[in-house]
């Protein structure tokens, strides 16, 4: 270890110690309150150390990063907002409703599924001392989120009539649904619906909010600084402070971690992550299911040869999924079963794993008269591993007699021309972790352009029915039937789910305890 790192570590510990002494009694009092229903202990027999400032590095958006997270498209914009503002809730499969509530006490669903009632947790305060009420939630949802152009917020706007949302007293908000759905809690509590004060229009550094941390500084493209908010509802963070840094390049992020400039590096490329495996000072902390990114190949059903279900099945049987996991991700990924949303409660995990069967694939191609067919697979480096996956897929296809080739676009091109993208015969793409049925209804139903020619009103209806079913058993059965159709006849090959490859300095803990792993939260994090 270099002298430089020793000195940095020493300075940080020294500063943290002094700060802990200064706020001693307040800290003890703070530690005694905790969010109900969440144990928050990082491991058996250990209690997290209090104090210190954690520094974490993310891919940012450069100078276009903005405090207005409703319009900020980078991952860092959302991570920053999640440290700063209160949240409606996070997904939590172990919770009674499948979620863990934040500023809410709970969400009630009307018997006829026509409306959701959000019950506000009493006593939540903003940093200026004012109480959080239904007006704040209403403003955050209907005035701000409803106007957002970002997909994460559109998921709610596509399911709830945010324009007709209204307050019912100080502690209740009623959200009408656009069509009957029973899985709305999973949508509202994905960790991205954040709450700011009623009337907020311009997001400023100094504005009061109610998240675990108070923003103290922000420089777009460089980073932001926070201090702990001691009156945070539920539980007070262990850390005194937090610094979120914007470092675009994967190697540079890893370099900042191993060089001791940051304590946590988000979303590294598989190759970069592998170089860290031998470093004794850091450890890998990949995200876990359901927060895995699905890597997929879209087969365009509106053109030959993919209008023939036998060809589509042949392409699915041709993939050597295990080889992809081992070669591209060095074993650090999960095998997919040609359905998105692995690990979500509504994912159809009862369907058997598709086999690797080149023999049968060849026979199917022959039967369909597509033997020796020529296809070009277009993809780009939009997410690490995508191009390597496409290269392997093309090799697999050649083995079943397809004359396949890869066209790799430069970064930023694949989705830039969307009409051209959705007209591709075969596209290498990726799927963000979102519940299975709601994402189907939004992106695949009704012949949407991103469905690549999939147009099956019966399956659309089945999904809508499943989502409108209150009996979990029955909903599951309907949802599985809909996904089975996609599995049998669908035009999506999803061979691999890869984690976000995060890494942290040894001893840093509690980051992955936040259930919204894709965009980490630091409210329970602690330093060594």
């Amino acid at each position: 270890m270099s002298r430089q790192i020793d000195r940095r570590a020493f300075l940080r510990r020294g500063a943290a110690g002094a700060a802990a002494l200064a706020v001693g009694p307040g800290l003890l009092a703070a530690c005694s309150t905790d969010e109900p229903g969440s144990a928050g202990n990082p491991g058996p027999g250990s209690s997290p150390r209090s104090g210190g400032t954690l520094r974490a590095a993310f891919v940012g958006g450069g100078a276009s990063e903005t405090l207005d997270f409703f319009n900020g498209p980078s991952a860092l914009d959302l991570v920053r907002a999640r440290a700063w503002h209160g949240t409606l809730g996070n997904l939590d499969p172990s919770g009674p409703d499948g979620v863990r509530y934040g500023v809410l006490e709970g969400i009630d669903i009307a018997d006829d599924l026509s409306a959701y009632t959000l019950r506000v947790r009493p006593g939540v305060r903003f940093t200026d001392g004012s109480r959080l009420t239904s007006a704040d939630i209403l403003h955050s949802l209907s005035a701000l989120a409803a106007r957002s152009k970002l997909p994460v917020y559109r998921l709610a706007a596509a399911n709830f009539d945010l324009a007709r949302a209204k307050a019912d007293g100080d502690l209740k908000v009623v959200l009408p649904t656009l069509r009957p759905i029973a899985d709305g809690r999973l949508i509202l509590c994905q960790g991205n619906f954040l709450v700011v004060k009623d009337g907020t229009k311009d997001f400023r550094e100094s504005m009061p909010s109610c998240g675990p941390f108070r923003l103290t500084g922000f420089t777009a493209g460089q980073g932001s600084a926070f201090e702990r908010y001691d009156d945070h509802y539920g539980h007070v963070p262990h850390l005194d402070g937090l610094e979120l840094r914007s470092i675009a390049d994967s190697t540079a992020r890893a370099g900042a971690l191993t060089g001791g400039a940051v304590d946590f590096a988000h979303d590294l490329s598989p190759v970069t992550a592998r170089t860290l495996a031998d470093d004794a000072k850091v450890e890998l902390a990949p995200t876990k299911s359901p927060y895995l990114v699905g890597l997929s190949f879209q087969l365009n059903m509106s053109a030959e040869p993919f209008d023939d279900p036998r060809v589509r099945e042949a392409f699915k049987l041709a993939v050597d999924r295990e080889a992809m996991v081992n070669t591209v991700f060095y074993g650090n990924a999960e095998i997919g079963n040609d359905l998105p949303s692995l690990g979500f409660p509504d994912y159809a995990d009862g369907i058997p794993q598709r086999a690797h069967d080149p023999e049968r694939a060849r026979a199917l191609l022959k039967a369909a008269g597509a033997d020796g067919v020529k296809v070009q697979l277009t993809t780009g480096p939009e997410t690490p591993g995508m191009v390597e996956m496409a290269t392997l897929f093309v090799e697999d296809l050649k083995k079943i007699g397809v004359r396949a080739s890869v066209r790799e676009l430069p970064p930023g091109q694949l989705y830039a021309d969307f009409p051209a993208y959705s007209a591709l015969p075969v596209a290498g793409s990726y799927q963000m972790p979102v519940p299975a049925l709601s994402t189907y209804q939004m992106n695949t139903a009704g012949g949407s352009p991103s469905a690549f020619g999939w147009k099956k009103p019966e399956t659309d209806a089945l999904v809508a029915e499943a989502r409108a079913e209150r009996d979990p058993e029955r909903a599951r059965e309907l949802g599985t039937r809909a996904q089975r159709t996609r599995w049998d006849e669908g035009n999506q090959v999803v061979p691999v789910f890869k984690p976000n490859l995060n890494a942290r300095a040894k001893g840093v803990d509690g980051i992955s305890d936040d259930l919204f792993e894709q965009f980490p939260g630091f409210s329970r994090a602690s330093l060594a």
Binding site: S2, Q4, G61, G62, A63, S64, E65, T66, D68, N71, G72, P73, K149, L150, P151, R154, G217, T219, A220, G221, Q222, G223, S224, A225, E243, R245, I247, A248, D249, T251, A252, R253, G255, A256, T258, G259, A261, V262, P411, G412, Q413, Y415, A416, D417, F418, A420, S429, M442, N443, S448, P449, S450
Partner: protein, 316 residues
């Protein structure tokens, strides 16, 4: 023609060029496949949502009209706002351009004296030393910046651990707050710039040394440092300044690469991000500003070269 008139004429030419190039940049962004809609609306937006976003960004209007609007604003000093994140372009320039200029200035401060020394040495001495330096310079000039950067990182940051691998600037601070973070980017840029400048200077020095004027000085017994400083350098200075000017132009291209490798918060990194997001106002503003800086350097170089040439009575 006097120097002022010369400078004024060059400046006027530069302004015309700036207008033409800004139009060319706009045309290039218009020809690029796709637009900012995917970056703003997200990959999985429906056709209707995309159309709405496109109209909101004003991308449904003809390109000529969009350029005219942009140019009208730019003349008033209003460069508009970026599509992504909606930051004023002028703000981004004000925070990022100085960082890049700092990098360029430091690089020039390293390159100029070193290149002068090496150029003089090799140009006057010839022989083995010349061949070794010239060949090394040629090889170095041919190596991509990111390879040079990777080598420097491997040796100085990973192996010897004397320098940080990444330029992590303190929040709210400037790169000057962490001088050691500037060393690797400046070294990388200098290595590439030095190679080019040395070769250009060497040629200029060799040409000057071969003139009858220098021959006469040598015959009069003027040798070594005195010959170099009194006779060769002033005469080679004009072409040398032009050589350095050209090196400065090449620096802009290298800076984009180097800023990304070290995550240095400069304008080159912003340009790369803006192009990837098809953020037309941001690309347009940054590219035009960079073109303006380069044209200014070229005009300044021309004026300096003329000034130096005129003093020695060799003005054309």
């Amino acid at each position: 023609m006097n120097l002022l008139a010369f400078a004024a004429r060059r400046l006027a030419g530069a302004v015309v060029l700036l207008v033409l190039l800004s139009a060319a940049v706009f045309a290039a962004t218009a020809v690029l496949p796709g637009d900012a809609v995917s970056a703003v609306a997200g990959v999985d937006a429906s056709a209707a949502q995309r159309a709405e976003v496109r109209a909101g960004l004003g991308l449904d209007r003809p390109a000529v009209q969009r350029y005219a609007d942009w140019a009208a604003g730019a003349v008033r000093g209003d460069l508009g706002r970026g599509f992504v994140g909606e930051r004023p372009v002028a703000d981004v320039l004000a925070t990022r351009l100085p960082n890049s200029l700092l990098l360029a200035a430091l690089t020039l401060a390293v390159t100029a004296p070193l290149a002068t020394l090496l150029g003089l040495w090799t140009g006057l001495r010839g022989g083995v030393a010349d061949r070794v330096v010239s060949t090394s310079a040629q090889i170095l000039a041919a190596v991509p910046e990111f390879v040079v950067a990777a080598l420097l990182v491997a040796v100085l940051a990973v192996w010897l651990e004397v320098l940080p691998r990444v330029s992590v600037i303190p929040l709210g601070g400037t790169p000057l707050d962490v001088p050691d973070a500037l060393v690797l980017p400046v070294l990388t840029l200098s290595a590439v710039g030095l190679a080019v400048a040395t070769r250009l200077l060497r040629a200029s020095v060799a040409d000057t040394a071969a003139t009858p004027y220098c021959e006469a000085a040598r015959l009069n017994g003027v040798r070594g440092v005195r010959l170099a400083v009194r006779h060769i350098l002033p005469n080679a200075a004009g072409p040398a300044v032009q050589a350095l000017t050209l090196t400065t132009g090449a620096l802009v291209g290298s800076a984009v690469v180097v800023e990304n490798v070290f995550d240095y918060p400069g304008i080159g990194r912003e340009l790369q991000l803006a192009v990837a997001a098809r953020d037309v106002p941001m690309v347009q503003g940054i590219a035009t500003a960079l073109v303006a800086v380069m044209l200014a350097v070229l005009v300044l170089g021309d004026v300096c070269a003329r000034l130096l040439g005129a003093r020695e009575g060799h003005g054309r």
